[in-house]
C-alpha cells in the first residue's frame, strides 16, 4: 500500500508528511521546535494545554499542532509575537493556578513547566496567584502525588489507561476544581486497581508525581519507555 505524502510549509520551509502525521510530528522530524505540555509521544494527543497552537495562513483560528493534520500546501507559522504572547500568558496561568514553588520542588531543574517558562522568557507571573489549598497524598508505598504541582495535563490518566491498562487515574470535577484521582478518590495507597508500575510518575511533566526518597538531582523523569512499548505492542498485535 502506498502512503500518501503531503507537502506543506512550516516557517517558510518545505516539509512533507506521511499520512496520519500531525503538524507537531513533522515539525519534530525537521527539528522545528514547538513547545508542548500535555502532548507526549506514545500517548493519544488531547490538544488541551494550548501551548502548541500555531498559525495557519488564511485560517482565522489558531490550531493545536499536536492534533492538527497538515493539508497539501498549508502554510504553518510556529513562532510569532502573537503566539509567544499567548504561550507566555498560558504558562503564567498555569503558575497562578496552583502552588508551584520551584525552589522547594523535587523536580527543580527537571520540570517541563519550569523550563517552558524559562524558554518563553516568563520572568514573572502577571495574573494573580490563586493559592488554592491542596493536599499531598503520600499513602502509596513508593510514590507521592502533590496536587499543588499538578497542571492537569492528563498524561498520568492516559498512560494508565492506554498503556498500562489499569485506568487507576481519572479526573474529578470540572473547571478549576478538577483534580486527578485514583479509584473512587481514595488514598493512592489504598487503590485496588493500581499496579504500582510507576508509568504515571515518569510521564508527569512536573513534580506532581514523584518517587519517594529521591533527592532533587535524582528525580529525573524517563519517558523513553513509551514509544518503545507502543512499537512493541503494535508489532505484537
Amino acid at each position: 500500500m502506498s502512503t500518501a505524502i503531503i507537502t506543506f510549509i512550516i516557517d517558510g520551509r518545505d516539509v512533507s508528511a506521511r499520512e496520519g502525521q500531525t503538524i507537531l510530528d513533522v515539525a519534530r522530524e525537521n527539528d522545528i521546535p514547538i513547545p508542548t505540555l500535555c502532548s507526549l509521544q506514545g500517548l493519544h494527543p488531547v490538544g488541551a494545554c494550548r501551548v502548541c497552537l500555531v498559525e495557519i495562513k488564511n485560517t482565522p483560528k489558531l490550531l493545536p499542532a499536536c492534533v492538527t493534520r497538515p493539508s497539501e500546501g498549508m502554510e504553518v507559522i510556529t513562532d510569532s509575537e502573537r503566539l509567544r504572547q499567548y504561550r507566555k500568558t498560558i504558562t503564567e496561568m498555569l503558575f497562578s493556578e496552583r502552588n508551584h514553588v520551584c525552589a522547594v520542588c523535587v523536580s527543580n531543574g527537571h520540570c517541563e513547566l519550569q523550563s517552558m517558562a524559562e524558554n518563553l522568557g516568563v520572568t514573572h507571573v502577571r495574573v494573580p496567584y490563586l493559592y488554592p489549598r491542596l493536599p499531598v497524598d503520600a499513602t502509596h508505598a513508593r510514590f507521592t502525588v502533590d496536587h499543588n504541582r499538578c497542571i492537569l495535563c492528563s498524561r498520568c490518566v492516559r498512560v494508565c489507561d492506554e498503556v498500562e491498562g489499569a485506568h487507576t487515574w481519572d479526573m474529578q470535577g470540572r473547571g478549576v476544581d478538577c483534580r486527578v484521582i485514583t479509584d473512587l478518590k481514595q488514598p493512592w495507597g489504598t487503590s485496588e486497581s493500581c499496579t504500582s508500575c510507576g508509568k504515571c510518575v515518569h510521564v508527569c511533566p512536573t513534580g506532581a508525581l514523584t518517587e519517594k526518597g529521591k533527592a532533587v538531582a535524582e528525580m529525573v523523569k524517563r519517558t523513553q519507555f513509551l514509544p518503545y512499548l507502543k512499537t512493541m505492542r503494535e508489532s505484537w498485535s
Binding site: 487515574w169 481519572d170 479526573m171 474529578q172 484521582i181 479509584d183 473512587l184
Partner: protein, 166 residues
C-alpha cells in the same frame, strides 16, 4: 447474555437496587449507560455514595475512577445526602436580574447555609440551578420539587418556613 452470567450482586437486599439494575440492564450493561445508571441511583437513593458507585462500576465493567470522574463532572449528581427538604434557587439570567441573589442571601441569613449546604439539623438543603427554564416567572425557586415563580425574598422565606416547619 455474557454480562448476565456474571452479574454483580446488589450491595444489599434493599429493593431500590432492582430499579438501578433494571436501568443498567435496559442499556445492556454497556458503558454508555453510565449516566443513565447514575440518574437511576440518585432517583432511588437521593444521592451517590461509594457503595452505589462501586456497584455501578462493577456492573458496567468500568474503572471506579472513571465512574467517579463522571459522577463529579455533572452537577446534577450529588455525592452528599440532602436534607429532608430542599430548596433550589434558580440562578438563570432572568432570575438573577430579578433578584435571585437576594433570595439566597435571605436563606443564608435565616438558616446560615450557602448553596450546596445543609442545615446541621438536616432539615433543609439549599441548592442552585443554572436555569430551570422558567424565566418567564423569574425569580423561580423549587421547594421540595414544586416550582414557584415571581417570589420575593420574604415570600420565599415564608414558603420555606412552612415546608420545613410542617
Amino acid at each position: 447474555m455474557a454480562a448476565d452470567s456474571s452479574k454483580i450482586a446488589a450491595p444489599s437486599a434493599d429493593k431500590r437496587w432492582r430499579l438501578v439494575d433494571n436501568v443498567m440492564r435496559r442499556h445492556g450493561y454497556r458503558a454508555d449507560g453510565l449516566i443513565e445508571s447514575l440518574h437511576a441511583v440518585q432517583e432511588s437513593f437521593g444521592y451517590l455514595d461509594d457503595v452505589s458507585l462501586r456497584f455501578v462500576a462493577a456492573s458496567l465493567r468500568l474503572p471506579p475512577s472513571k465512574v467517579y470522574g463522571v459522577a463529579t463532572f455533572y452537577h446534577f449528581f450529588t455525592l452528599k445526602p440532602q436534607g429532608e427538604h430542599t430548596c433550589v434557587v434558580c440562578l438563570g439570567t432572568a432570575c438573577y436580574i430579578k433578584g435571585a441573589q437576594k433570595i439566597l442571601d435571605r436563606i443564608e441569613q435565616d438558616y446560615g447555609i450557602k448553596p450546596g449546604e445543609t442545615t446541621p439539623d438536616n432539615k433543609l438543603s439549599v441548592l442552585t440551578a443554572r436555569c430551570i427554564g422558567s424565566c418567564g416567572l423569574a425569580p423561580a425557586v423549587v421547594i421540595d420539587g414544586t416550582m414557584s415563580g415571581k417570589l420575593t425574598a420574604d415570600e420565599t422565606a415564608e414558603h420555606i418556613c412552612r415546608c420545613v416547619g410542617a
